[in-house]
Symmetry: C2
Subunit: 338 residues, 2 copies
C-alpha cells in the first residue's frame, strides 16, 4: 500500500523532503501559504498533488511534515488533530515540542543541512546526504522514534537522538550564535571600505552563513532568544577575557594552542594535496583520471583562482593512507604538486 | 647579474617566498633561529644557502625579507643596518613601521594568504597566487614601493597600497577579530559535548581558522591589541543590540536581509550547480569532460560526501553566463543536477 505524506510548507527543506520521499515510493501532497512556493515545489517534481489547505493535505496522511518557519509551526502543532505521525524540521525544538497538542503523535526533528539559497527551486533529494538530523525524544513512543529514524535514513541523513532542551542549548552555541556572529561581523566590516577590500578567506568563511534565508533565521533566533542571549553573553565574556590578556604573549600562545587542539578533534584526519591547475582544456579531466587511477576517495575539493582567470590551485583532501597513491597518480598526469 | 635575497625566518611564509623567488632567478639565503625550520626550508628547495646568522644572511643582499613572528620583527627593524631594500610580511603593520630604523629602506607588507598548517614543509611557490598583498606607504620612496609591487606580482600576489594604520584597523576587523571569534567560539562549544556533536557546516566554517599557527597569531594579536580591543567592543555592542531586539521578528528579518545584502557584495556573482556524484571510477573525469566541453571557468568546487563514503554532492560555481552551457554539458555526461 502506498504511504502518503503531507508536506506543510514547500520551501527548500519541504520540497527536498518531498523529492526524497517520492524516491522511496511515498505519495506526496503539499501545501504552502505561498502559491509560488507550492507551484515551485510541484515544478521541481517534489509533489504528487497540491492541496488547497493544510487540512486538505492531511486527509489520509500517514505522515505529516511541518516545514514552514518556526513561529508558524508553533501555532500549527498546538491545534494538531490527526492520527498521523507528525514531524517538524525547524531549527529550534523546545518551544515547538512544548506547544504540541496533547495526544498528538508528534516528533520534533532538525536536519542540520541547508544552503544559502532558499525556495523550492533549489530543492534537492540529495540535500540531506550525510547530514546530522536531530530527532527529539521528549514524550515520544519508541515505535514512532524508530519510524522517524528510518525516514531520516531513507533521506540520506544520520539521525541523532536528543532532548529538545539539549538541542536548543547546543544549536544556540554551534548554529544560532555563529549566525549572529556572522551577521554582526558583516555589519561591523561594512562600516570600513578598506576592511571590505581586505576581506580574505577567514572573513569569507566566517560570514558565508550571513547569506542565508532571513525569514527562516528570524523565526529561529526569536524562538530561541533566551538560549541565544546566554550564548552571546558567554562568547562576549570569552572575547573580553582574550582582549584582557593580550599583553601576555606566552599565555595567548598557549591558549590559542589549546583552542586549536579542540578544533582539531572536529576535523577528520585528512591530508590536503595541492596541485597547480593550468588554464588549459582537459586539466580537470586529468585530475579525474588521477583520482580514478589512485582510487582515492576525495573528502574535499577546493579551487582557488588567480584574479585574472586562468588556472589556480586545486586542493584535494584525502585520508592519510591514500595520499601517497594520489600524489603518484597526479605526478603521472604531469601535475605540479605544491 | 643574479639578485640576492636574505630570508630571515624560514617558516611557511618565508620558505614559500624563497621557493617563489628562486623561480624568478633570485639567489636565496635563509636564516631561522630554529635549526629545524632552516633545514626544513632547505629540504623543500626554498634556499640556495643556509646562513649562520641574520648578519651573515644579509651580506651582499639586494632584498631582505623579514618573515618571523611580529614581535621578533619589531626588534629586527629597529637595528637595521643594510643598504638593501627590506620588507616584512607580518599581519600587523604600524608597530613595525614605527619601529623601523631611520634611514632604512623599509617597506612593510602583508600577504593575505596562509594555511592552517605552519612550517616550511607546507611551503609552496603557489601560496600567494591570487592573494591580496598589502604594501604600506608610510615614509617610503616611490621607487622602492614599485620594486616591492613587482616582487609581489612575481610571487603571484595582487599588491594593494595602504597606510600602516589603515591596514591595522582594517585587519583588526576582517582578520584579527574573526580569529578571536573563532577561538572564543571553539572554547564556548567545547564546554558542551552535544554542541560539538551537532557542529555542522556553519560552525566548521567559522572555526576553521582556529587551526592556525599559535605563535604567529599570538604575536599579531598582542602587537595589534588596541585595534583588536576596539573591534571586539564594536562586535560585542552589535551582538547585544541583536539580542535586545530578538522579540521583534519583522525587524530581525529586515536586519538579516540588510546584512545579507552587504555580504552579497563580497561574493562574486556566481551560480552554483550541484550534481550527484556516484561512487564509481571515472565520475570526476566525466565532470572534467563536461567542464572542457562547456569551456566554463570554475570559480569554486566543493564536494560533500556521505558519511559512509561513496559519492556525494559536487558543487561547481561558475559565472551566470556560463551556467547554462555547463548544465547542458553535465547532462550530456548523464549527471543528475539537483
Amino acid at each position: 500500500m502506498t504511504r502518503r505524506v503531507a508536506v506543510i510548507g514547500t520551501g527548500l527543506i519541504g520540497a527536498s523532503i518531498g523529492l526524497g520521499l517520492r524516491l522511496h515510493a511515498w505519495e506526496v501532497v503539499g501545501w504552502d501559504p505561498s502559491p509560488n512556493a507550492l507551484v515551485g515545489a510541484d515544478a521541481v517534481g517534489a509533489l504528487d498533488h497540491e492541496a488547497s489547505s493544510p487540512t486538505d493535505a492531511m486527509v489520509g496522511a500517514d505522515l505529516v511534515v511541518l516545514a514552514g518557519p518556526a513561529l508558524a509551526i508553533i501555532e500549527q502543532v498546538a491545534s494538531l488533530d490527526t492520527p498521523a505521525l507528525v514531524i517538524d524540521v525547524a531549527g529550534v525544538k523546545a518551544p515547538i515540542v512544548t506547544a504540541a497538542a496533547p495526544g498528538a503523535r508528534f516528533v520534533g526533528t532538525h536536519p542540520m543541512a541547508g544552503r544559502e539559497h532558499a525556495g523550492p527551486e533549489h530543492a534537492s533529494a540529495g540535500l540531506f546526504r550525510g547530514a546530522t538530523w536531530v530527532v527529539t525524544t521528549d514524550e515520544v513512543q519508541e515505535a514512532d522514534l524508530v519510524a522517524v529514524e528510518n525516514i531520516v535514513h531513507d533521506l540520506g541523513g544520520i539521525p541523532v537522538r536528543m532532548s529538545a532542551n539539549r538541542h536548543d542549548t547546543a544549536v544556540a552555541t554551534v548554529s544560532h550564535l555563529p549566525q549572529l556572529m556572522a551577521l554582526a561581523l558583516v555589519e561591523t566590516a561594512s562600516d570600513d571600505d578598506d576592511a571590505m577590500a581586505l576581506a580574505a578567506g577567514g572573513f569569507r568563511d566566517l560570514t558565508r552563513i550571513a547569506l542565508s534565508d532571513p525569514t527562516m533565521w528570524a523565526d529561529v533566533l526569536v524562538a530561541n532568544r533566551l538560549e541565544v542571549g546566554e550564548a552571546v553573553a558567554r562568547i562576549a565574556a570569552r572575547m573580553d577575557a582574550w582582549v584582557g590578556q593580550l599583553t601576555d604573549t606566552e599565555r595567548v600562545r598557549d591558549q590559542i594552542g589549546s583552542a586549536r587542539e579542540v578544533r582539531q578533534t572536529l576535523a577528520p584526519p585528512i591530508v590536503a594535496i595541492r596541485v597547480i591547475l593550468e588554464d588549459r582544456p582537459g586539466s580537470l579531466a586529468a585530475v579525474g583520471r588521477a583520482l580514478s587511477a589512485s582510487r582515492a576517495d576525495v573528502r574535499d575539493l577546493q579551487l582557488r583562482h588567480g584574479r585574472h582567470g586562468g588556472g589556480g590551485v586545486l586542493t584535494l583532501s584525502v585520508r592519510p593512507g591514500e595520499a601517497e597513491a594520489l600524489r603518484h597518480a597526479l605526478e603521472d598526469e604531469h601535475f605540479e604538486i605544491v
